[in-house]
Amino acid sequence: MDPENMQLITRMLEQDSELREKIKDQVTEFDKKTRTMSGLLNKIHSTPSAELPPLLDSVRPILESCGETTAAIAALVPPNQFWRWKEMWSNSLRSAVFAATLMEYLQKGTLMTLGQVSDVLGIKPEWSDRFVLTVEDYLHGLITLVNELSRLAVNSVTLGNFEEPLRISVFVKDLFAGFAMLNLKNDTLRRRYDSLKYDIKKIEEVVYDVSLRKLAPSVRDKKDAS
């Protein structure tokens, strides 16, 4: 075989396997960051609303530092090969989306758009052929958000905050209505979306419990009275 042809081929095969290693290292970094954020954000279930701001303040620098990792990955991915490698960091990216949107909800009660999340994670428009936040990854992050909020509805009552479940209920129903309009083909996404109704059911039960507790006479009250 023509030696030049030969060399070209050999070099291309080797480059791919080196690149894979390098990306893997960055993903490990990314993963550490999202894991730390999840660990800290897990405390919201036992933190009274008043003490939330300092907790969120402790997470923010880590969230912001994700930009370094996304930049490092974007620098590694050869032009035009985003779709070839993206599976490698999808899970980490979804966790980061979850962290970002949860923090936004806790602070302002609003939903971050795809563009806003991209910004927060330092993803640059000019990387469009190397590193992008896809719709799928964004939606996966939102589903994780709803999972967490249904847990928060339960625990905020335990912490004596009876208003939070109502706020969560409104926010989640709105989000769910958005999902319902999409024609999801992707299987994993569709399955996870389908499970959202259980989160909503749980939130509604809390709302039911909380509302009636204030307004309706219980059977026990009667028994006690008799």
Partner: protein, 237 residues
């Protein structure tokens, strides 16, 4: 193809010219199949959108969409002349079953009943009551079997709405009866046997939902409708 040749073929040219006719026939068949698969996918998409019509109001809106689908099926008529339906059944079935699922869901919301075989066949007829194609029992039953999953989603979502309790328990007994009715037909259809398991799971989920409501409202000394009103009031405040 029906012309009977008297001599078998002894040259490449003769053979090639016979295969020429085969090519035409096979290409026509493949094109028709592609068209039907595509139409079936369109039907599926329209039907799936209907799934989200979870309230009575939305359901009547959906009627128009069902008519759109029926128009699509009317288009099949030309493709499925004579017994071509059976030839392309496996290509048409996916969309057809999704349609039956959507149709029977709307029918249940309106009448509280399971749509009959005859009613489904009638929905697939032209103005002179001539069927676009024969309705197979398998498609009918498998479409209905999917309905139970849709009803599960409906029942669980309904819980967060007024009157959810009674709705959940109505759906619960409806699905329970469906499951029992389908049971006797499972020996005939392999696919139905598999779906029957899904139906059982859906039924259990509905039962759990009805239970959760029952156990919660039993704590209060008021009829369920009034409890619903109280919750509604609390949310609005």
């Amino acid at each position: 193809m029906s012309v009977t040749e008297t001599k078998s073929l002894s040259s490449r040219d003769a053979i090639v010219s016979m295969f020429e006719t085969f090519r035409l026939e096979l290409d026509e068949h493949n094109d028709r199949r592609e068209r039907l698969i595509k139409s079936s996918r369109d039907v599926t998409n329209l039907s799936k959108k209907n799934d989200h019509a979870k309230t009575l109001k939305a359901a009547s809106l959906a009627k128009e969409r069902l008519q759109d689908i029926q128009k699509l099926f009317a288009g099949f008529k030309g493709e499925l002349v004579r017994d071509n339906f059976w030839r392309y059944q496996r290509n048409v079935s996916p969309g057809l079953q999704e349609y039956i699922e959507a149709l029977s869901f709307t029918h249940y919301l309106e009448t509280g009943k399971l749509i009959t075989y005859t009613e489904v066949q009638q929905s697939l007829c032209d103005n002179e009551a001539i069927p676009f194609f024969p309705l197979s029992l398998e498609d009918y039953l498998l479409g209905l079997s999917d309905l139970t999953g849709e009803l599960m989603r409906y029942a669980i979502s309904a819980i967060s709405q007024r009157g959810g309790r009674s709705k959940a328990s109505e759906v619960c007994s409806f699905v329970r009866n469906c499951k029992a009715d389908f049971e006797s037909m499972t020996p005939y259809f392999r696919e139905l046997r598999k779906k029957q398991n899904v139906t059982s799971q859906s039924l259990e989920k509905i039962e759990d939902a009805a239970y959760a409501l029952a156990v919660r409202s039993s704590e209060y000394d008021l009829p369920p409708e009034i409890l619903d009103d109280l919750v509604q009031r609390a949310i609005i405040n």
